[in-house]
Amino acid sequence: MDTLSDVDPGDTFQIVTIPDDRIRAQLQRMGFLDGAVECRQQLRKGPVIIRRHGTQMAIGASVARAVEVAFGRDLDHD
């Protein structure tokens, strides 16, 4: 499974699992678990910037490594 630290700027993907309760709740509330998320920037060994519906979040590398994502081809048609 790919993680959030594998995505490149311009990629669109879906967030599948976030192990940390606090971070999962935070991102779920803001809608980042609802569907397609876009990667805006990926700093080398640094944070990844994601965006959905105009809301941008910076996710540090240590957090991103634990977040599983699925790209379009892996997704079920919904």
Binding site: Q26, Q28, R29, M30, L43, M57, A58, I59, G60
Partner: protein
């Protein structure tokens, strides 16, 4: 009026609730007639404001995206929401998807609510068409479109506060059924209970235990945890999110617009290749404004021309003659008027001549940076480096503030996250970040030595900063929290906001620093007057010898306990060799932060960690000084 008066007189309390940066403060200022208190919420460092409004008391809440207890802000907001009679929920129209979660959570909890659909102008500019009437019909509560910054819609919002309502039935019934049958709890409590909020479970448990005596076996396991069922939160949140999605699709139509200028600038900022030079440029500009324009040129006028040349001779002339002579009056005269620590001379000079201009200008720049949304971009660019010392990018902000004033920086460590991170950030601030007052004198002294010594000085301080960070990261239990932060939209700061924030922060700073500096000076003046200073200097002499420094350096350090720049300034009077000057400067930089920072440290953390950090600074300063002395000589 006092806080109690407002609460008694106005039996209705309305809370202003919303995400960060949605315009709550502008709405607050419009609705409030008279601000009554800005206070720390009990047991936290989060400040809330209470004001009297037309027919009700108005309270603000820290910005949150949802209600639970993950952060200090959320805990404060949750406690306030339990106590209010109605909520004004400020929603950013350009972020409906994000903000309606909180709206639905308030309504699920049964909190009577009015929605202020704010930033309608920006939404239009983004090509978003939102129908407030449809939103009102779908939510079942009043929705008022506003442009708070222009005052648009705020009168209408005030009129409709009395219509605040919540749907009579919560859609979470199927989950409430999983709570113990017959549980006496409000709908708000039930909602947070099924969402697994532990503090709510404790609240309900404590109340039931108090009502029934200890005999009531509310929970089979005897604790409160049975009241908050585990693992339902994800389901409930997903259910609420799907309702948000349906709502948004029925009220919002989006016509794509081209990328705005702000978006393109944002992309440049977040790209290290362009962002880092920009940040460095900004730091140089800030340093020039604070370090040169304010700390040198402006302070020269306020401290030297106004206070040293006019105020000090004036009080000497007026008071010196007024006080009769005698043992007691001579001591009083010394405490009030002595040149280095006198309450009416040196302290006035320091507080109003030096500190006030620095604090005001720093607060202006910080408010500009906060209002523009640029600080979270700094956090992104520095996250990788900061994560090596157990911090994340957000901790860069206190470090920058610390170069201006360490005391203010210690307050600002509130933004860096967990207690562990705050401890590391605060310890590093106290140890290895020189404040502008000290840096000014250090720069003057070191420039006489030449650039090589300057590079060596910066190198040693950065090395100590890094090593201390690594050590603290190893020693402290737990693990660093990774960066998870929203990047709010970049915007041009509003001068009204900046002026207001600057005023509030400056007032708070002065109200805390005046008693502290006065008290510290009083104690040290008496210490000197009674001859204690001489004894202390003799006691320290052997330690100074180890550092290759003269005994009189002990006096410099004792002064440095009160104010860091006192120590630096004291060194200008000593005859020191180049190496001694260099070692001395490193020692006073690493030495304890000023008495005001220490008081803040005790207040923001606890007295024990404060004393530990204080002692750590002594040890580090002398050990590093000793090593340098051994290496150089």
């Amino acid at each position: 009026m006092t806080e109690g008066d407002v609460r008694d007189e106005l039996d209705r309390v309305v809370g202003l609730v919303g995400a960060p940066n949605v315009g709550k403060s502008v709405v607050f200022n419009f609705l409030a007639n008279e601000t009554v208190t800005v206070s720390n919420y009990p047991g936290t460092t989060v400040t809330t404001t209470l004001a009297a409004a037309d027919g009700f008391a108005l309270t603000d809440t820290p910005g949150v995206y949802g209600i639970s207890s993950f952060t200090e802000e959320e805990r404060v907001t949750r406690s306030i929401i339990f106590d209010i009679d109605a909520a004004v929920n400020v929603v950013d129209a350009t972020h409906l998807e994000r903000d309606l979660f909180l709206t639905l959570q308030l309504l699920d909890m049964g909190i009577p609510t009015v929605v202020a659909l704010n930033m309608m102008d920006e939404a239009r500019a983004d090509g978003l068409a939102i129908d407030p009437d449809v939103l009102e019909a779908r939510l079942g509560v009043p929705v008022v479109p506003t442009v708070a910054t222009e005052g648009e819609g705020l009168g209408r919002l005030a009129d409709r506060i009395e219509e605040a309502s919540a749907p009579s039935r919560s859609p979470l019934g199927q989950w409430y059924d999983q709570l113990p049958t017959g549980l006496e709890a409000t709908r708000a409590e039930r909602t947070l209970l099924v969402e697994g909020d532990e503090p709510t479970a404790e609240r309900v448990h404590d109340r039931l235990a108090a009502a029934d005596g200890e005999s009531a076996a509310v929970t089979p396991d005897g604790g409160s945890s049975g009241l908050a069922p585990d693992g339902l939160r994800d389901e409930i949140y997903a259910h609420r999110r799907s309702r948000v999605e349906r709502l948004v699709s029925s009220v919002l139509t989006h016509s794509p617009t081209s990328e705005t200028l702000a978006d393109r600038f944002d992309a440049l900022l977040l790209n290290p290749l362009t962002g880092i030079p920009f940040v460095l440029g900004m730091l140089v500009a800030v340093y020039w404004i604070i370090g040169d324009l304010v700390a040198q040129k402006l302070v020269n006028v306020t401290e030297v021309d106004l206070i040293a040349h006019h105020w000090v001779p004036f009080v000497h002339a007026e008071l010196g003659g007024l006080l009769p002579h005698g043992p007691v009056f001579d001591a009083v005269r010394y405490v009030l008027l002595n040149g280095t620590l006198g309450l009416l001379t040196a302290d006035v000079r320091f507080l109003f001549g030096v500190l006030l201009p620095l604090i005001v200008s720093f607060n202006v720049l910080m408010s500009l940076a906060e209002d523009s949304g640029i600080l979270p971009r700094f956090a992104v660019l520095t996250d990788r480096g900061m994560s090596r010392i157990g911090l994340n990018g957000r901790a860069i902000i206190p470090m920058i503030i610390g170069l201006g004033c360490v005391t203010m920086a210690i307050i600002s460590t509130r933004m860096v996250g967990s207690r562990r991170e705050r401890l590391i950030a605060t310890a590093l601030l106290g140890l290895a970040v020189p404040c502008s007052a000290q840096l000014g004198v250090i720069l003057g002294l070191i420039s006489s030595l030449g650039p090589i010594w300057w590079v060596a000085y910066v190198g040693v301080i950065l090395l100590v900063f890094g090593l201390a960070g690594l050590a603290l990261d190893r020693v402290l239990p737990g693990e660093g929290q990774g960066l998870v932060t929203e990047l709010p939209r970049l915007r041009v700061p509003r001068l009204e906001n900046v002026a207001q924030k600057t005023r509030a922060k400056t007032r708070m700073f002065l109200s805390e620093s005046i008693p502290m500096i006065g008290g510290g000076s009083l104690v040290l003046s008496l210490f000197t007057y009674t001859g204690g200073m001489g004894v202390a200097e003799r006691t320290f002499a052997p330690v100074m010898g180890l550092l290759d420094l003269p005994p009189s350096f002990g006096h410099v350090l004792l002064m440095g306990i009160i104010r860091r720049d006192f120590a630096a300034a004291g060194m200008t009077d000593l005859a020191l060799s180049h190496a001694q000057l260099f070692i001395g400067l490193v020692v006073i930089t690493l030495f304890v932060p000023c008495i005001l920072s220490m008081a803040m440290l005790g207040k923001e953390h606890d007295v024990k960690s404060g004393l530990l950090m204080w002692a750590g600074s002594w040890v580090t300063a002398f050990v590093v000084g000793g090593i340098l002395a051994a290496v150089i000589t």
